[in-house]
Symmetry: C2
Subunit: 321 residues, 2 copies
Amino acid sequence: MREASRKNILVTGAAGFIGEAVVTALASQNGIAVTATDAKPRPTGFDGGVLYQEGDISDESLPSALCSEKFGAVIHLATLPSGAAEKDPSAAKRINLDATMALAERVSDQASPPRFVFASSIAVYTTHNVEAVDDETPVAPELLYGAHKAMAEVWLAALTRRGAIDAVSLRLPGIVARPRAPSGMTSAFWSDLFHALGSGERFVSPVSAQATTWLLSRSRTVENILHALEADSAAMPDNRALALPALRCEMAALVKAILNHAGQDEDLISYAPAAAVERIFGRYPPLITKKARSLGFRDDGDLKTLVRNVFTDIETQKAAS
Amino acid sequence: MREASRKNILVTGAAGFIGEAVVTALASQNGIAVTATDAKPRPTGFDGGVLYQEGDISDESLPSALCSEKFGAVIHLATLPSGAAEKDPSAAKRINLDATMALAERVSDQASPPRFVFASSIAVYTTHNVEAVDDETPVAPELLYGAHKAMAEVWLAALTRRGAIDAVSLRLPGIVARPRAPSGMTSAFWSDLFHALGSGERFVSPVSAQATTWLLSRSRTVENILHALEADSAAMPDNRALALPALRCEMAALVKAILNHAGQDEDLISYAPAAAVERIFGRYPPLITKKARSLGFRDDGDLKTLVRNVFTDIETQKAAS
């Protein structure tokens, strides 16, 4: 950490897929005090030194309970996922927009603006009729989830200009492999693919063999989030938002890499593309993340490494549970 | 109006400086039904045919009362002005962001998306360290007012992509000459200048003679807002946001034009620039509004015409009151 004050860190969404791994990684470092919060109970694997506060991030009393002390940094991961957000627009606004705005105001500190790492999403972009997404691509969300994330980014950048916080909004791509349990993410099939093929089960893809998406392993995502705690403010774009580097994967190539890694047969895969799913989750153009790369953020390198990182993570989870 | 459905129009902020003139202009046209709302009582000058609902736009019961019928178009002007917004951030969020989001959802109609004209603001831009503002300039608000407007724009564009509404966000420049009564706008001195010099009173400018700003007369603003009801959807930018054309005026040249028009002496003006005011309200770079101009929006043409338009408006107000 650059500054002593950064050593007291708040993590929201701490019992989620990414949050749990972030807290575990932070708690393993010397001299970092972690306060963690989530609507779910304290994960059993957390180090005893982690302060844990169970509660709803959109409940106004939670931030006051959390913020009795000053944080040097905040990692704000709590979110209502995209599919669930579409089903409950008012909860989506409350959790994904209002709670983010309120938390950022609550932790703001003109004397020493805390680094505020926000889990935004590539859902802020439109991905059809676009040749490529790069640092100049404007936001154009279609899902409520993406709209709320884009709005929260505007707020965090404004508070940063005002010297209240020091924000970094990371636009997360598809993170694999999320657990099989329903996550509320419509894009969950990209994760289910790993679990099914890795276990020798048949998998019917809801997108075509030519479908493309942007993927990042959970372990590399956590590295990027921790890196965001230290990334250089002066080199940040004015909107403080960065698409994380990710591999653009074609379904057929990804299937092949998974089958190779797992030593499984190609008969396991079949395709039944649904037009609506393909349109939203299967037509990702090239992703050019020069700015994020120059700031030190990284993807998994290549498809083989991505698949290996994912299965290492799955094995670690299995061993821990 | 292009379509019959556009003939039923809702105007919010209808008793405000711009709203009153918009309602009066609409009510004078044949075949247009106007529903108007404001927190203030019904303006005495409104045509008897105007349906008026007094109420707080951020009160959830108001939209249901208003939206018992379908509107072909909405002109959403209700706002907490910039100075007042800085003083009461939670009211600012409630009125400028939440109420705008809720109203747009309330009037949305997939079968026939209503044109939703939103009074956004040039406060979405930063104006210092910028060579010019044009159609490619990203939002970079510093005031809460500008941040909420920029966020509302993102929401309205998302609802437009979803086919729920047909939004046009007009980024209004300084509108002159607002009444002398405290308006909550920190930029009010640009209006007070007209009233003072026009009446032969001394005026101490809080910005230097070289200060620049973007101005539009109220009458031309109203023309632009009415034009937005009919402007071509297909030619709109994807973010549905347009800075309105405005004259970039230098304080000294504006003073001269006003004194010439009013036949007053140049001894009336003196300068006591305050650094903070000059920085925020007196360093406007060139404003290049190609897209808005191609869509038919217009400024006052030249400084002399701007000043004449303003004084014609002031005289009309005096005659009516």
